[in-house]
């Protein structure tokens, strides 16, 4: 399993891995918002957390369709499925998701405080947003694994994967943003939505790989 993790991280970092695409997209989205919204600093600060979350959500969706397709195209997926007596397929998928998250999504979380400055957010809001992204984005990757597994045999399934999983990621977005606001706006709570966000991630860490494993098995042809 460690070998699979290392291989996927290496693949993501080498040329053509696509790890940079997500962060460039994230940067582009957040950089144009102040131009579109105008120089109203108060308004920017108020929508900052939401814009960061929407940008991170869309950037996370970008590379998800390749999660299993690259392995299918070169025949590795067959061998991963065949090895399921030795390494449970759901666990294999969890490890692949983890590697994908570290290579493509963790840089978004790390970049989010810098982009928060673009949005004129105060320090506490920036910190809370980065923290909620750290806890919430794994859930998006894990939900995405199900969509990627369902669409694995479609040659141009990229947009389809995003459309399939977008409705399921809405709760992540809602609780992520409300926890971020809770940290700075007084009556709104921080801890309750934050804990629900963590619960969603843990829930999909179990359900996502199992559902993706079932989809991959039945898609073999």
């Amino acid at each position: 399993m460690g070998a699979l993790f290392l291989r996927d991280v290496r693949l993501g970092l080498r040329a053509g891995g696509g790890a940079l695409v997500g962060i460039l997209f994230f940067l582009a989205v957040i950089a144009v918002v102040p131009f579109g919204v105008g120089p109203d600093l108060k308004l920017l600060a108020r929508i900052g957390a939401a814009m960061l979350w929407i940008g991170a959500l869309l950037a996370t969706l970008l590379g998800l369709d390749r999660l299993f397709q690259a392995d299918r195209d070169d025949g590795s997926l067959d061998l991963l499925i065949m090895a399921s007596d030795r390494h449970m397929l759901a666990l294999t998928i969890l490890v692949k998701c983890l590697a994908h998250w570290i290579v493509s999504v963790l840089p978004l979380v790390i970049a989010s405080p810098l982009l928060g400055l673009f949005m004129n957010m105060e320090a506490a809001a920036i910190g809370a947003t980065a923290l909620t992204l750290l806890v919430g984005t794994p859930a998006i990757t894990l939900i995405g694994a199900v969509g990627a597994a369902v669409a694995v045999s479609l040659p141009r399934g990229g947009l389809l994967v995003s459309v399939i999983i977008l409705p399921l990621t809405i709760p992540v977005l809602i609780f992520g943003v409300s926890a971020s606001y809770g940290a700075v706006e007084d009556p709104a709570p921080f801890l309750a939505p934050f804990l629900i966000l963590a619960a969603i991630t843990l829930f999909f860490a179990v359900l996502g790989p199992i559902a993706a494993a079932a989809a991959l098995r039945s898609s073999a042809d």
């Binding site: 070998a3 080498r14 891995g17 070169d74 067959d78 061998l79 065949m82 007596d85 042809d221």
Partner: protein, 202 residues
């Protein structure tokens, strides 16, 4: 150890390709699956590998070593695709499959030596020629141990010398009590192998 198929039938896209297949392959035996294009050779191999569900019939492996429970766990599958990443080096690719599938009789350097590619372990897999890629893929069979080898057109792209070398490797596997099921158009040079002819798709 025996690989037994009873009344096996396979379909692809709802169309029955073959049905009522009976065969038994014991340790040290090879089964050559022949037949025209579209007769279901690859489908049969993928059914044995557990990647497709059979339409009918039974398939089982009797008396497999304790380490290999179930047919899929006991089998190496060499399909049309090489299952290697072009951006990783040959060594990295083989090292991954060795760690993932379990250590076998040969080290990576020895396995590459057996396919006459001892010098190129550091090159990215994508730089190799078609035949060299195939030979690296064959080296994958050597770095992890599996009693059953399922080979789908294993010699596609190989030159004469590599074919002979591969025949030697297959003989070695059979001598050590392994089973080979190969789908092929060309004779693989194994004496005394059984043959299963699949009919034309009609």
């Amino acid at each position: 150890m025996r690989l037994i198929a009873e009344n096996l039938g396979g379909e692809r896209g709802g169309e029955l390709l073959f049905s009522g297949l009976h065969f038994a392959v014991s340790s040290g035996e090879a089964l050559m699956v022949t037949g025209p294009n579209g007769s279901g050779k690859s489908t049969l191999l993928r059914i044995i590998a557990g990647l497709l569900v059979q339409a009918e019939g039974m398939l089982r492996l009797e008396g497999a070593p304790a380490a290999f429970e179930g047919l899929a766990a006991a089998a190496h599958y060499l399909g049309h695709l090489n299952a290697m990443k072009p951006v990783l080096s040959v060594d990295e690719n083989l090292h991954f499959w060795q760690s993932f599938n379990g250590r076998g009789q040969y080290s990576i350097a020895e396995a590459l030596e057996h396919v006459s590619l001892g010098e190129i372990g550091h090159l990215p897999f994508g730089y190799l020629s078609t035949g060299q890629k195939r030979r690296v893929s064959i080296a994958r069979l050597l770095v992890s141990e599996r009693p059953v080898w399922l080979l789908d057109e294993p010699t596609a792209g190989l030159d004469k010398a590599s074919e002979t070398q591969f025949t030697g490797l297959m003989r070695g596997h059979l001598t050590s009590g392994g089973i080979i099921v190969a789908a092929t158009h060309l004779p693989l040079g194994l004496e005394g192998s059984k043959e299963l002819a699949l009919g034309a798709a009609s």
